[in-house]
């Protein structure tokens, strides 16, 4: 793995919270219909200069379509896309300061790896020796030194993906659109390339929009994540916010593992809510307000790592405490996952870092356990 050179990364700049900043790309009320089918549905989002913006969502939710509209291959059926305040609708793809890495790679089959990468530079009439130098740099970056003279059909899937990545990076565009750029790489190379992408992005100040299926990847690389479903954006927020404060059950369940418990609000305090849930068989106290009346149906989302598991009962077993039986244990090396069956029959999971050796572990199958959590570490969701 390459070293993170120099100073540690600073990720404290949040242009989206700064009203003085004007967005680099404005997607304003954009929809795309194919016949009667709505692939992208009234999407509005601002992306700022130097951001690493991730589009995350299940297959077919319109991520590629949105990206193709940014690149200029599809025209929005409705709405506008503006780059630095300028309407892009009349600008053809070959004049946009935007490069795209295609999900299907779209390598030129009749050209070698080198010529594929050099193609974009040749279009800009970059001097020959500079082309040679920059192409060589790129080839090295994506570790394709041994394959420079090969044609695409002589490469493996992962190697092609790296050629596609190099080809879109070599022009150092103002904005780079990456459609599942790392899907075909193995874990190590993927992490390494993620890292390189982040370095490149920071060095060159390129704005990245990356599409991915992989929520872990989105969490790692991006400054903000847009979670999409059926052509709509459900939530746009930083990785931490998305994880800690999802705005819906959909987002909570899409990002990471989560336990959701159904219940009804019984009491609305000034800085807490109380919920009664048949599944939990206890009163649930949560620290965050929601906009729902007393008696309203809500879901309480608790991440597995925020559920403490213990064989000894806590002092107060009536609030935020569930009793159950250990049903199954998943040992992941660094973590242990406990699947616990509550008295109501509901299954919940709790995970614990393995700070002690396996043999010394206190909790085992069929143990009766208590699951507890702090009011501040659960989220109440209305939908």
């Amino acid at each position: 793995m390459t070293e993170a050179g120099g100073a540690p990364r600073h990720k404290t700049v949040e242009p989206w919270n700064d009203p003085g900043q004007s967005p680099y790309i404005q997607i304003a009320g954009v929809s795309k219909r194919f016949g009667a089918f709505v692939a992208v549905d009234n999407v509005s989002v601002d992306i700022f200069k130097g951001e690493f913006f991730a589009l995350l969502g299940p297959s077919g939710c319109g991520k590629t379509t949105l990206l193709r509209m940014l690149a200029g291959f599809e025209e929005p059926s409705q709405g506008r896309i503006m780059l630095e305040g300028e309407d892009m609708s009349t600008v053809p793809p070959y004049q946009r300061p935007v490069n795209m890495m295609f999900q299907s790679y779209a390598l030129f089959p009749h050209m070698t790896v080198e010529s594929n990468i050099a193609f974009g530079l040749k279009q800009d009439r970059v001097p020959k020796d500079e082309i040679v130098r920059r192409v060589a740099e790129m080839i090295q970056l994506v570790q394709l030194d041994d394959f420079a003279k090969r044609k695409p059909h002589q490469l493996s899937g992962g190697q092609r993906q790296r050629v596609a990545l190099a080809r879109s990076l070599v022009k150092k565009p103002k904005m780079l659109l990456l459609d599942e750029p790392l899907g075909a790489l193995d874990k190590k190379l993927r992490e390494q390339t993620q890292f390189e992408l982040m370095n490149i992005q920071e060095e060159l100040g390129i704005t990245f929009v990356i599409v991915t299926h992989d929520q872990e990847e989105a969490m790692t690389v991006s400054s903000r994540i847009a979670v999409m479903d059926h052509g709509r954006i459900i939530q746009v927020a930083t990785p931490a916010e998305i994880y800690e404060y999802p705005n819906s059950r959909y987002v909570a369940e899409f990002i990471g593992d989560v336990n959701t418990l159904e219940g009804r609000i019984t009491q609305l305090g000034t800085d807490f809510i109380e919920i009664k849930s048949a599944q939990a068989a206890c009163r649930i106290r949560a620290g965050h307000g929601v906009e729902a009346p007393v008696g309203g149906a809500v879901w309480v989302a608790i991440r597995p790592e925020k559920l403490n598991i213990s064989v000894t009962p806590p002092d107060d077993t009536s609030v935020n405490c569930m009793r159950g039986e250990v049903w199954d244990i998943g040992y992941l090396g660094n973590l242990s996952i406990y699947h616990v069956r509550l008295e109501s029959g509901q299954m919940v999971t709790s995970c614990l870092t393995n700070q002690t050796r396996l043999v010394e572990r206190a909790i085992t199958w069929e143990d009766s356990v208590y699951l507890t959590w702090a009011p501040s570490s659960c989220v109440v969701l209305t939908g």
Partner: protein, 273 residues
């Protein structure tokens, strides 16, 4: 598939190929006959091939045929390419169905009809018949073959590579020249070879549309055969068969290789998670 050799397979193979190729084989064998009599074998000789070089009539006809084939296949390839592009690229333009039907029609049109109608047209516009008219006639019937070959290639053409080129700053015209054309080149070349061999072969349409001084080789052979088969004719026919065979083999090899590569590409693309 792997049923191996059976007597049934063997017999049908021999019968089938015998039926197809025995006459041609005979023709080739007798072109190397020493004797002037085509039916009597009198030992191996290549003298008739030498004699060809002295037969000015045949040489002239061969030269005419070659020029017609070259010019007509080149023009037909360009026109066929344009037509094939139109049919597969421009979506549902007005009259697309009619146009695509019309482009296929000459494939099944009886040659006599094509020849006759062309003749009538040339007469109607009182165009002097000769080299030009034969060439035009050959363009007419061979461009649809090119269009068909090009169109079927374009159907499986991955247009995202054109988008990628444009995304990298290449305008559409240049994209066509740098990306599309090289990628579909095997199909274009095999289309050209196909029309070249079709033009070499043609007797009927050429007979209708030719005029004085533009006798093609098939016409020459046909008229000489009516006076009696000579080993010279066998020799020239053998050469013609050779050229056509080479053309067809190259065309199909090109198409096969292109196909195999695309199949491999697709397999690899599908293997990528």
């Amino acid at each position: 598939m792997n049923r191996g050799f059976t007597w049934f397979n063997g017999v049908s193979l021999v019968l089938g190929f015998g039926f197809l190729y025995l006459p041609i084989l005979l023709l080739i064998v007798y072109s190397f006959n020493e004797s002037k009599l085509v039916t009597v074998w009198a030992g191996f000789s290549t003298k008739w091939y030498g004699a060809l070089l002295e037969n000015q009539g045949l040489l002239d006809a061969a030269w005419v045929t070659f020029r017609v084939a070259f010019v007509s296949s080149t023009v037909a390839t360009i026109l066929g390419l344009v037509a094939g592009l139109m049919l597969s690229r421009f979506g549902a333009f007005r009259g697309r169905v009619l146009f695509s039907g019309m482009i296929y029609a000459p494939l099944v049109m009886p040659e006599v009809i094509t020849g006759l109608s062309l003749l009538l047209m040339f007469v109607a516009i009182s165009f002097d018949r000769g080299f030009v008219t034969v060439t035009i006639a050959h363009i007419t019937f061979s461009m649809c073959y090119v269009a068909v070959v090009v169109q079927s290639r374009l159907i499986s053409f991955d247009r995202s590579i054109e988008e990628a080129a444009m995304d990298l700053g290449c305008p559409p015209g240049r994209t066509f020249l740098l990306i599309t054309l090289p990628v579909i080149m095997p199909a274009i070349v095999s289309g050209w070879l196909l029309s070249f061999t079709l033009s070499l072969d043609d007797l009927v349409i050429a007979s209708f549309t030719t005029g004085p001084g533009a006798t093609t080789l098939p016409m020459k052979i046909y008229s000489q055969v009516r006076l009696g088969v000579t080993p010279e004719i066998n020799a020239v026919s053998t050469i013609l068969v050779g050229i056509v065979a080479v053309g067809v083999v190259i065309a199909s090899v090109l198409a096969k290789r292109d196909e195999a590569r695309r199949a491999q590409d697709e397999r690899l693309a599908a293997a990528a998670p």
